[in-house]
Amino acid sequence: MTNFVTAALLFLGLALLAGCDSASSDTANSSSPTSTPISDTSSVCQTWRTAKASSPRTLSTAGENASDTFSIRAGNGTTRRITLTAPTAATTGTNSLSFRLENGTTVDSGWTATFVPTMPSMGHSSPNNIQPVYASGLFSGTVNFTMSGDWRLYFCLESRDGSIVDTSHFIDLNVSE
């Protein structure tokens, strides 16, 4: 028993010396049910949660697409102007989703993007989404909608060097059968 207590105190001391905050770590783990794991994006979007999106903006719908042009201030103080265009029509099941990300007039491949589908009235997400990758001017991925109804698709956009991150945009979809 004495050995156990000694070992526990030693471990606690080492943890404090290393700056390990186990309490905050546990909290982060337990409150991340809606983050979609991705392997090829930066840590910001990996740990991004829709619940923490500040000043959320919905995209303006025009026809079958919705888009928004907005400015993002980078960490070095420069401002980048972004246009995000995504489709609004979807059905229950697996949907291919492509969207365009423009920096001025140039399609920008120097970005990574992540999305998280949520169903606000049910409080859940959907499984097995394939995060978008850039090819031929478009970011293309697969998003799954488990049932018909109102869905909200959040985007996390991040420049390749990590200096610019935007988590404020989402698109509302009425998913049909």
Partner: protein
């Protein structure tokens, strides 16, 4: 032998070697109800191998050694029936009333309908040929626990060449009264049932029979759920020709049935979101049973083909926004064709060997386009069609050293197909474990191996039965957390989402015993009990494992028309499970009952009155309305009267 020669040599019915018949002649400890006992009441009172999973004031589902569904299907005169509720709230037995019933048969270790653990067959009441002419009966009863009123009547006419009967019953209960006198909200029900049967003699040893059953329930409350059953409707029809000769018999039967089931929460005011949950099941099928009695053996052959379609959907209505829709049971078609052959061989004066071989092919196809899209969300490699070949074999060796005593050893090995919802179920919430469940289209059949040692002893008015059994379920299907689905798919109000998987081997051992003793014309005694212990049972199945329990009763007839029957029911506390914290809440109990009945005959009329007091001291009997296997009665005073003419 010609075809007609074979037909002439067929048995009246096919049954597995180890079949227990729960017949009318079995002593009924608790029989105060003015109408005959319902299928589940008969099982509860007379058959220790079958337990009941109760889910509210009605619709208890029978389980055999803790198994139900494909492992131990419920059949109506051998006919399959697919129910329409994803949470087993409308078992087939709930559509049959006592007026419709001849007997309930529990078969194990294999059943005619392919159950690898066993099966429960509900034999519907036949219109019997005879010379009785016109007969009628009427009955009514009241119960204080739920202010319930029940009424039933039947009319029959028989001649040597044609017989017909019709029966009807209706019942309505108010909300259940808790021990402190308060009413339990959402626990009332309404139910109506019609049944008709006809028999036509087609030869000296053959007859043609038709049966038609219709049942409708409404406003069936489920206090354990956030919703009730608004409508549960079923019909079943069958046409059978049977030949019963001295050397054998034949049965040819065609049948069809349909079930419609609707959940309803419009009466609930405290739900987060209103929802509709309709479900449907239809089956059409045919049975051919042949048999032949030889000098020292009896051969039986049973062939069966059936087609079933099953579906259930859920539409949720958020306070704002569009309704949300999903197919919890995507529309699925099941095609089955199977056959079994059994032989009972009398080896010597005291030794008998019984063997049964069965083979069934089953094809399941996912028909719904929405359903196909749903399962692809969970698994891009999902299969939308599955075929199973399901062999089964059992053997029984019986030793009867003296008249009235028989000792049997039975072993069996059979495959059991996954349930439809285990393959393609979609976010099915089960209150039994508080998880949502999703299907896995790659499941393989479970293999179920059983061994049972049973002893039966009859001497004079004493009848004893007992057995010990063990069961191994290889590749047992249960739910596990799938990291691809959980925790991304948190659903409020549930513990999470489980995907069905073939897990390891689950084990069960148990024993059952019953005794009936008519000590004298005035005194008789009856009791039964069961015990079961399990290892590695998946959480999805744990709630249907019965606790150790039983019942005992005494019958005393001081004067001919009067009978007094005191008795009690008991159950030990359920074993707590770490993975199912809610399941351990049940406590053990032993509750008494006292029944009085008197009969008076006047001319051709027979009048019977009943009075019963149940569970007068128990302070927690509300658990009968919760989800579980404890069918404890509420504190109730019941009075009934019946007239036969």
């Amino acid at each position: 032998m010609t075809f007609f020669g074979i037909l002439a040599a067929l048995p009246t019915a096919f049954s597995a070697p180890d079949t227990v018949q729960v017949a009318d002649s079995v002593t009924v400890v608790r029989g105060v109800r003015p109408t005959t006992l319902s299928p589940t009441e008969r099982l509860e009172e007379q058959e220790p191998a079958a337990a009941l999973v109760r889910r509210g004031p009605t619709a208890a589902e029978p389980v055999v050694h803790g198994a139900s569904g494909n492992q131990a299907p419920v059949t109506l005169d051998g006919a399959r029936i697919q129910t329409g509720c994803t949470d087993h709230m409308d078992p087939a037995t709930s559509y049959v009333e006592g007026n419709d019933l001849d007997a309930v048969t529990v078969s194990q270790p294999l059943s005619d309908a392919g159950g690898a653990v066993g099966g429960v067959n509900v034999a519907l009441r036949r219109a019997r040929l005879g010379t009785q002419g016109l007969r009628w009966s009427a009955a009514s009863s009241l119960a204080s626990v739920d202010d319930g009123a029940r009424a039933a009547g039947s009319l029959s006419w028989s001649s040597p060449t044609f017989a017909v009967l019709a029966s009807a019953s209706a019942q309505r209960t108010q909300d259940y009264s808790a021990p402190d006198g308060t009413k339990v909200d959402y626990s009332s029900m309404e139910k109506g049932n019609l049944y008709a049967a006809a028999t036509l003699r087609t030869g000296n040893e053959s007859e043609l029979r038709g049966t038609l059953l219709w049942d409708r329930s409404g406003f069936v409350g489920y206090p354990a759920l956030p919703m009730d059953v608004g409508l549960a409707r079923a019909w079943h029809g069958a046409l059978a020709w049977e030949h019963a000769g001295s050397e054998g018999s034949a049965l040819v039967q065609g049948y069809a049935n349909a079930v419609h089931h609707e959940m309803d929460d419009t009466h609930r005011t405290d739900v987060l979101m209103h929802m509709d949950m309709p479900g449907d099941g239809q089956v059409q099928g045919g049975i051919l049973a042949l048999g032949r009695s030889l000098e020292d053996q009896t051969l039986r052959l049973r062939l069966e083909g059936w087609r079933g379609v099953q579906s259930a959907t859920m539409t949720m209505y958020p306070a704002s926004g569009a309704p949300m829709y999903e197919e919890t049971w995507p529309r699925t078609r099941t095609l089955g064709i199977g056959g079994s052959l059994s032989d009972t061989i009398r080896l010597s004066h005291s030794w008998t060997l019984g063997i049964l071989g069965r083979l069934e092919g089953r094809q399941l196809d996912l028909l719904s386009e929405t359903g196909k899209k749903e399962v692809a969300v969970l698994d891009v490699q999902a299969r939308t069609s599955r075929s199973f070949l399901l062999p089964g074999v059992s053997g029984s060796l019986s030793w009867s050293p003296i008249r009235g005593q028989i000792l049997s050893l039975t072993i069996s090995d059979a495959l059991s197909a996954p349930e439809m919802d285990e393959l393609w179920g979609y976010y099915l919430y089960r209150v039994s474990d508080h998880y949502e469940h999703v299907g896995n289209s790659h499941l393989i059949p479970e293999e179920i191996r059983q061994i049972e040692l049973s002893e039966g002893f009859t001497k004079g008015a004493l009848r004893l039965r007992g057995n010990l059994w063990a069961m191994a379920i290889l590749d047992a299907v249960g739910g596990t957390i799938d990291p691809d689905i959980y925790p991304q798919n948190m659903v409020e109000g549930t513990l999470g989402v489980l995907r069905f998987q073939n897990l390891g081997t689950a084990w069960r051992v148990g024993g059952e015993a019953s005794a009936d003793w008519k000590a004298s014309p005035q005194w008789q005694f009856s009791c039964l009990g069961r015990w079961l212990h399990d290892w590695n049972t998946p959480s999805t199945l744990a709630s249907q494992l019965p606790a150790t329990g039983g019942r005992a009763g005494l019958g005393y007839r001081p004067v001919a028309p009067l009978e007094i029957r005191p008795g009690f029911e008991w159950e030990l506390p359920r074993r707590a499970r770490a993975d199912l914290p809610g399941l351990g809440r049940g406590s053990g109990y032993a509750v008494p009952f006292l029944e009085l009945s008197g009969t008076r005959t006047a001319g051709s009329l027979r009048l019977k009155g009943n009075l019963a007091l149940r569970n007068p001291f128990d302070q927690s009997y509300r658990s009968a309305l919760d989800w579980g296997t404890a069918p404890r009665p509420g504190r109730s005073l019941e009075v009934g009267i019946s007239v036969d003419g």
